[in-house]
């Protein structure tokens, strides 16, 4: 199923589409105000981009440096080539710890690896402790946004969900009361948690520490209460030095939500006495992407979600229309690397307006990569046959002045003579579902120009 078909389903509820668009635009505007307030913001982007480019160019070396530093801190470091290995490693650590209850703070990587269903199949309880994540976990839905996982839901939807799962009053939609219900529920889970899993925002090669940015403090609560901490990270999360971190923390929260900094920026360097700390470093397709020169820069992503908030298509189609763990523009350049056939329509779910590139805090050329994925997909025959053949036909027409001129005349004549109901039939003309076609003039510009005196002399003598 293509993005367009899933988007059309979302669009059926016009009011909800308006609400979704305005909610995310509000976040984009909040981001703008935060960005305008930092005069050196564009320099910071340049710096961040440079640090990430440098790191990706020496990723193997920095990963080894990170591993050695982490091990020196008493941390167990594990390497996972793919999602299956990642999941097996985490199950193994959990079993060795004799644990059955896991609390998890926000981690898009564990979503990507489908860790929750895997652990539950093996008899382990996993509770997402981020509020948004918990809501969608109750509903058995994937996140629709990487920073705001339940942004597709209204407070009334959350009220219904909590009524079912937490026994709140039916029809309760007061955010304060609903949040309090979640807090009480999660408090018990935190206290019972034996293993805490967190994601990683930044991994510092120099120190072997990982940094986790949250607003709810749930990562800290989980990690500090549990006996075992497992931090899961993609290989691209590395930054070289602790002194590089400030560049990214200044960019991350401003780009994500318009906050100057996340409420918590937690550094985890070594296990507390008597406890264990593990770091699972995951590839899962990343080295393949690193090996694609045109798409390598997508690995600079720090998962702020700004490209989603700004994307006019994402805001009107919802995160689920992308059918990939990371939706929106960045997801549309990451997903074909994983499964080109399945995600073939995503690079086309864009007008190439370029706003994603302009908000990206690490200057990923997102819209250029979308364009380049389209070429890869075209060459691989992963575009609809009708499109492919009409483009081939158009290529012939537009490379010849004569054929183009005759074709244009014919099309305009047809448009003028055929009845409106036929030229605008929605079944045959997707344009005309919501739009009128231009009125076809009798004369094209070139036909007009040929009759002008200026058209006669050769194109040599002109003056300004």
């Amino acid at each position: 199923m293509s993005h367009a078909i899933r988007a059309d389903k979302f669009l059926l509820d016009a009011d909800r589409t308006t609400w979704h668009d305005e909610t995310l635009w509000f976040v984009r505007e909040k981001r703008d105000r935060a960005v305008y307030g930092v005069p050196e913001f564009q320099e910071l982007r340049e710096l961040a981009s440079g640090i990430k480019n440098h790191t990706l160019s020496r990723l193997d070396l920095y990963l080894q440096e990170f591993e050695a530093a982490a091990q020196a801190n008493g941390v167990h470091v594990h390497w996972a080539a793919d999602a299956a290995e990642h999941n097996a490693i985490i199950l193994d650590i959990t079993r060795k710890a004799g644990a059955t209850r896991i609390v998890k703070s926000k981690s898009m990587l564990t979503e990507e690896c489908h860790l929750n269903p895997y652990l539950m199949q093996h008899g382990i309880e996993v509770v997402d402790t981020d509020l948004g994540e918990r809501i969608i976990q109750f509903r058995d839905e994937p996140p629709s946004h990487i920073v705001l996982p339940a942004i597709h839901l209204k407070k009334e939807d959350v009220g219904d969900t909590f009524h079912t799962h937490l026994g709140t009053t039916k029809g309760e939609s007061d955010p304060q009361r609903l949040t309090e219900a979640a807090r009480q529920h999660l408090r018990a889970k935190f206290i019972a948690g034996e293993v805490a899993i967190s994601g990683v925002n930044f991994a510092i090669a120099e120190t072997g520490a990982v940094v986790v940015c949250t607003n709810e403090g749930n990562a800290d609560l989980g990690v500090n209460l549990a006996r075992v901490h497992i931090a899961a990270m993609g290989i691209e999360k590395i930054i070289p030095r602790l002194s590089d971190l400030g560049v990214f923390t200044r960019l991350l929260a401003r780009s994500a939500t318009g906050q100057p900094v996340t409420t918590y920026t937690s550094h985890f360097a070594k296990p507390a006495p008597g406890k264990e700390m593990h770091i699972v470093i995951v590839d899962n397709g990343r080295t393949q992407q690193l090996g694609r020169p045109d798409f390598r820069a997508s690995l600079k992503c720090i998962r702020c979600g700004a490209c989603m908030n700004t994307c006019p298509v994402y805001r009107r189609s919802g995160g689920h229309s992308y059918d990939f763990t990371v939706p929106g523009p960045i997801g549309a350049i990451l997903s074909p690397n994983i499964d080109m056939k399945k995600h073939a329509s995503l690079p086309f779910a864009s007008t190439l307006c370029g706003s994603c590139t302009d908000v990206c805090p690490v200057k990923i050329d997102i819209h250029t990569q979308l364009y380049k994925w389209r070429q890869v997909l075209g060459e691989a025959n992963e575009i609809p046959a009708s499109k492919k053949w009409s483009m081939k036909f158009m290529g012939r027409v537009l490379a010849s002045t004569r054929v183009y001129g005759l074709g244009g005349q014919f099309a305009r004549k047809a448009l003028r003579l055929l009845p409106h109901g036929l030229t605008h039939a929605p079944s045959m003309n997707a344009w005309a579902v919501a739009r009128e076609l231009p009125e076809a003039p009798k004369q094209s510009f070139r036909e007009w120009y040929a009759k002008q005196p200026a058209a006669q002399p050769a194109p040599s003598q002109t003056s300004a």
Binding site: H3, A4, A7, L11, T17, D32, Y36, Q42, P312, V313, R316, S317, F348, A349, S350, T351, L352, C353, G354, S355, D358, V359, Y371, R374, Q375, V376, G378, E379, I383, K387, K388, M391, M394, G395, L398, A399, S400, T401, Y404, G408, R412, W431, A434, E436, P438, A440, P441, S444, F445, R446, E447, W448, Y449, A450, A455, P459, S460, T462, S463, A464
Partner: protein, 246 residues
Amino acid sequence: MKVALFVPCYIDQFYPQVGIATLQLLEKLGVQAHFPAQQTCCGQPLANSGCERDALPIYKHFVETFSDYDYVVAPSGSCVYHVRKHFDKLDQTADVQHVRSAAYDLIDFISTVLKVDALPGAFPHKVGLHLSCHGQRGLHQANESEMTPVRDGQLSRLLRSLDGIELTQLNRNDECCGFGGTFCVSEAGISARMGQDRVADHVRNGTQVLTGSDMSCLMHLEGIVRRAKLPIKVMHAAEILNGVVA
């Protein structure tokens, strides 16, 4: 200065008056532009659809058509952006490099090359300016809201110089209209919704005349305006400027 006029295929066929206004406006500004009759298209519709390879003969045809001119001026920033950015697929001969750097959007040409940023004339209407993404973000003809709150650019400067004009203050100054080339049919639902939202911003804030420097966005927005029978007139900026300058 040898200047060629490039009239993009859809303007040639559907909006000849925009080509005429461009030609006449340039003439009033002292530039006698020539229209090489063998021109067709820049190839963007194919390339944006993932068929860059099929567009290469069109690119070559474009370069052959325009390589003898100092400047190639078009009333459509999107086509110009495509020539400048994506003709990198051709062997970079001297001709190809020349045509890529010689291609100018009309408003960019007036502002940057002719160094004109004010025009004498009156246009006493409330005008809504649609900033086209490829002109704005691609060719940097206007400030991007992603970077700065200052709403300024080449076309808004030119329009503001006209007597009696009032520019609409939009809620979203530079959101994409949703045309997007073949996106307008391959993602017809989202495309239409984006266009409707853009038009609604103009209606809400009192636009009487909707303008811009890229006819492709305007074709899409006009289609929505006409379908909804809204009291908004859609005009390319060249038509406004040519109409007011004596």
